[in-house]
């Protein structure tokens, strides 16, 4: 007889470890264990047979892979955690004894740790890190807007601010912004970095309600990792673009070169210098996003590069297959989109969210400025004759300059998403704006497409759907409908008359040709449908569930789309009716 096998000594039970066991194994407190897990990116696993792993018990526990925990055992950061714990203890003791000197000495030797190796370990390749940039950016953009508090150190906040500004500079420099969406939650941006779509959200620029149900320790641990990772990624990204890291603005004196007369220039300079002190100024100018960054190379080299690129492109163009041609077309579209606002000179009014707008406009090649007193970095003033657009977000009756368009900020967002400069009509100050649509919606497979989106698609194709000819169309339609109604009325009467005539004649008994039997032959569509129904009956059980699931999903989507179209139709009809009424009232008057 063999040895008696004990339960839970092999198999799944030995592959998992509960959180409490893991803490004990690593000799860490729960808080430190959490920090470690966050930094190292370790997450729990759900065992397939929970009861078996839990050794027969059914209590709810979180399980980690034993291998993960063993991997954590060798982490040098753990020792730093322990050192930090001792540091805190010593400091407390010294402070309690009122030994100031010793306390200061201890404070000076505060243990610090770096997590570079963890970043490298989690992202062995650069592209992995780029792919995981979404959360890092969201977090940093949030932290950059938070106030300093007991849990949040000013250094973290400053660092986040710095990194986000640097990232935005990179996006501007490479013109890699693709989509913009203003949601009630904030501004969503999507950029293409190293051909990876990166999406992040920036909160609206108002103070946050300080929440009580949020553990800022967790958030700041995440931020600690994200700042390190973002920093390294940015360094590498800047390197690939031949840019200095940390970013440098060529020279502050160059700031005002674009200004016209010397007098004004001097005045401006003084004003700028008065706004903040020298140290802050350079940072602020960088943060204004309105200056191109300094490069390692000279401009001449770049031009040569560009020329070389063109040559290469020409060479490539010669031998292309169809798919490549498609790609080519796509990339051409992209290049076109990158130059969307090239040649535009935009001026931002005060009420417009400046940073987001500057970021968008500059990353599509536009020039932008704002009132000098609104912030550093403005390059031209409101009275510049060459301004093509002024972004205004309040109703204004008088437009002092005829040479420029006055538009609402949504024009910028919609233009970016449509990949073309949309007609300005409908976006003028005081206008009722057309709906702002999300560029992230997948419109395939019979999903609902709002009519506004259809119009934009038509515009992109080069047709003129008459976006703003809506009202005229409507009125025309109204008239035609009215006419139709009148005609209908007449015809109804005629029909009634005819009917009466027929009834008069009817009582005579007569043999009428019998009705032909309904043609039993079904049309081909019906036959096909029936065949399909019969074939569906024969799907094996295993696949039938899948099939039914897929079909259910399709049906649900269809239903939702249908509901939306119905709702829209009802709304439009109501609108039309009210408009008609008004018109009639006017006519009557």
């Amino acid at each position: 007889m063999g040895k008696i096998k004990k339960k839970y000594e092999a198999g799944a039970a030995t592959q998992y470890i509960s959180r409490k066991q893991a803490c004990r194994k690593l000799q860490l407190s729960l808080a430190d264990f959490r920090r470690l897990c966050i930094l190292k990116g370790i997450y729990p696993h759900e065992p397939v047979h929970k009861k078996r792993v839990n050794k027969g018990s059914t209590t709810n526990k979180t399980f980690y892979f034993l291998k993960d925990i063993q991997f954590l055992l060798h982490e040098p950061v753990i020792n730093k955690f322990r050192e930090y714990k001792i540091y805190v203890r010593r400091l407390k003791k010294a402070e309690a004894r009122l030994e100031k000197g010793i306390a200061n000495h201890i404070r000076e030797n505060k243990p610090t740790y770096r997590i570079d190796h963890i970043v490298r370990e989690r992202y062995p390749n650069f592209i992995d890190a780029v792919r995981d940039l979404d959360d890092a950016l969201c977090m940093c953009f949030l932290f950059a807007t938070l106030p300093k508090s007991g849990r949040l150190h000013i250094q973290t906040i400053d660092l986040c601010r710095k990194l986000t500004v640097e990232f935005m500079h990179y996006v501007i420099a490479t013109r890699s912004l693709r989509k913009v969406f203003v949601s009630i939650k904030g501004f969503y941006f999507q950029a293409e970095v190293m051909s990876q779509p990166i999406t992040w959200i920036i909160p609206h620029s108002f103070p946050h309600n300080h929440p009580t149900d949020v553990d800022f320790r967790v958030m700041s641990t995440f931020t600690e990792f994200y700042t390190a990772m973002l920093g390294f990624v940015l360094y590498k990204l800047y390197q690939t673009q031949n840019l200095h890291y940390p970013p440098r603005i060529p020279l502050l004196s160059n700031v005002n070169v674009t200004l016209n007369d010397d007098n004004k220039k001097r005045k401006r300079k003084e004003e700028i210098q008065n706004l903040c002190d020298e140290n802050e100024k350079s940072l602020e100018v960088v943060a204004s996003l309105n200056m191109p960054l300094a490069q390692f190379q000279d401009a001449n080299d770049q031009e040569e590069d560009a020329a070389a690129d063109e040559e290469v492109e020409d060479l490539l163009k010669e031998g292309l297959t169809e798919t490549q041609e498609e790609d080519q077309k796509k990339s051409e579209d992209e290049i076109k989109q990158r130059k969307l606002f090239e040649g535009c000179k935009m001026f931002l009014s005060r009420e417009v969210p400046r940073e987001a707008m500057v970021f968008i406009i500059r990353s599509f090649g536009g020039e932008v400025s704002w009132d000098i007193t609104a912030g550093l970095g403005s390059t031209f003033s409101i009275d510049d004759e060459k301004i093509t657009h002024q972004i205004v977000d309040r109703p204004m009756n008088e437009k002092p300059y005829i040479s420029r368009y006055y538009v609402q900020p949504q024009w910028i967002f919609d233009s970016v998403n449509a990949k073309m400069q949309l007609p300005v009509k409908g976006y003028l100050p005081g206008d009722v704006l057309p709906p702002h649509l999300s560029p992230f919606v997948n419109e395939e497979n019979g999903a609902y497409v709002p009519p506004e989106r259809q119009k934009v698609i038509a515009l992109q194709r080069g047709e003129d759907p008459g976006i703003n000819a809506d009202e005229d169309e409507l009125s025309e339609e109204d008239e035609s409908e009215e006419e139709q109604e009148e005609e209908d009325g007449e015809s109804d009467e005629e029909k009634v008359k005819e009917n009466i005539d027929e009834e008069d004649e009817s009582p005579v008994v007569a043999i009428t040709p019998g009705k032909k039997d309904v043609d039993r032959k079904l049309n081909p569509d019906q036959i096909a449908a029936e065949e399909k129904r019969l074939a569906v009956m024969m799907i094996p059980k295993k696949q039938r569930r899948l099939y039914e699931k897929i079909k259910y999903g399709e049906r649900r989507k269809k239903r939702e789309a249908e509901q939306l179209t119905q709702k829209r139709k009802a709304i439009d009809d109501e609108k039309k009716a009210t408009r008609k009424k008004e018109k009639r009232r006017k006519r009557a008057a």
Partner: protein, 721 residues
Amino acid sequence: MKAKKRQFLEENTSLSLNQESLFPSKGKLDIDDEDSSDESVVESSDEEVLEKETEYFNKLQAKSAQTIEKPYSSDVDDDVSDDEDLRNTVGNIPMEWYENFPHIGYDLDGRTISKPIRNQDELDKFLDKMENKNYWRTVHDKQTGRDHVLTSEELQLIQRLKKGSFYTSGIDPHEPYVDFFTHEKMIHPVTNIPEHKRSFTPSIIEKRKVGKLVHAIKMGWLKPRKPKTDESEEPKFYDLWEETESKTPTNSELARQKMAIPAPKTQLPGHEASYNPPPEYLPSQEEIDKWKEDDEDERKLDFIPEKFDSLRQVPQYPTFIQERFSRCLDLYLCPRQRKMKVMVNPEELIPNLPKPKDLQPFPTFQALCYKGHKAMVRTISVDSTGQWLASGSDDGIIRVWEVATSRCLREITTLGDQPVKCVSWCPNKSVCLLAVALENKIVIINPSIGDKLIYSATDSLLQSFQPLADEETTNKQESEKSNAVIPPWKTVETGLPYQDGQRLVITHPKDVSKVTWHAKGDYLACVVPGNGHAQVFLHQLTKQRSQTPFTKCKGAVQSVLFHPTRPFLFVATQQYVRVYNLVKQQLTKKLMANSKWISSLAIHPGGDNLLVGSYDCRLSWFDMDLSTKPYKTMRYHKRAIRSCCYHPKYPLFASGGDDGNVVVSHGMVYSDLMQNPLIVPVKVLKGHKVERNLGVLDCCFHPHQPWIFSSAADKTIRLFT
């Protein structure tokens, strides 16, 4: 007693005097009070004696008080009036408490102090106000009940207190500070103790400490403090991936990379999240209410879509931080799992079957409807020529129809009014017989229809079949052995039943539910459901003999069937179909139907394939050569299957169920044993109505045409061609 009391009072007074010494002005006020009271008090005659006594006491006491008082209150220049010390001993209490008493307290001796009589009316008061010079400085003392004229010193004191300054004018708050230690060097030391010798000799402890430090520095334990740099605080970034890209990862690293599941990206917002969404995305008030009522997990969206007319009106999203926090929690607390998402085109899942068009002939539409029954038609049967259709309904009437014209030619009404459970034509073409199961009887009927030669021959044939006498005895013996009742055969020879066609009646102990013929038309098998072994009976027509083939029967028998060519009997219980060899008298096979309750059985004319319908909507095709489990299970009925059948000639089979549908399928059985049967559903025949949750009750194919008959609970029989 008195002496004690006095002592106590004296102590009290000394205390009060003590207080006076602390607040000299108050003492004065007291004394003045007494002075003024001298004049104002009008003594009454009743109290004279008492007054005198108190006077006496007071005098004594005042003397003693004076002696004590003098050292403390030096500034009291006024002599204390000795004749009257009307100090009230009640203490600092609201004087309203004495309102209803004739006295206002007690003096030092514990006697009552009577209220001074004040009968000043308003006029008196006015006159007093006009005439009395000191009226403005007169104060009413509630404790003594007398008026008191404030002295000028007292007035000054009050003014000082009002101003918030010291109570006497003598105190200077800003006295010059006298510094004991000065910055000037004094010629004399403060202390003149000579210095200790210790102060001249070097300290050993210090020396030891220094020695330790020097040693620590030498050994490298102690390092000088690092100069503070700004750089150390700022994180430094460099090209982190410079080396790794050239280095090949180790196996463990590769394993880790392979195991790591990247965090899923957050879902991107749709149109409804816009600050200015299209109007169709805005929820109505009901939807908003529902959203608020719903649990957080149930909500489809985690926000209510809102519309703002312009960008400047958009506020901060209130739960922005919470949302990011929950994302953080998801990242480090949620178990991650790789989920295989099937990216499959649903069309690809549909099996590639031959088109029904290519599998014709099969019934496609309804040709005729046989109407006439007054109750639901539970059973039908087509005779072997295919000309006649017999049907039995729940009111006990059997009708025989001409198939081609849907005319009812015979109506057999003499069987009673119990539901007809089963009708079945004898498959022998040379006889015209119909077996009918109702109540506990099987009635053999000659409907006298069709070829006259045949049906008259049938009668004579029946008469020639006579049970052998000795067999009867054997029957009895057998029945005694097996403890089963052998059903008696009874011939109907005259009367209405005979005219109606009834020829033989076999009576069973219990109700009969099913009757089937053997292919040759001699044997009949019937099911008598109930407990015990006698659930299946076999009857032989030629010998008019019956037997119960099984000594024991497992489970409730649902249906029985003869094998078309070989001596096999199929017995279906609720979950199994057992196949018995009647010659060898043994169980050859047990088929598992994978269903809970079998309803019907049908056997392929080839004899190797079996169709089993069940009340749990399954139709199973058994290939007897393959296994005891179904070769294929079809679930194309939505509700219970009531009947199933094979076509005797065409490769067709059909099933009818409570959903009112008859599903006709192509079921090709190949002669090549290696090839599995091909099953293709070809047509769903609709037409029957569902009544009382019952649909198609029975169906059967025409013997040589691709036609199918079906009977249903809607009292009709339909022919589909």
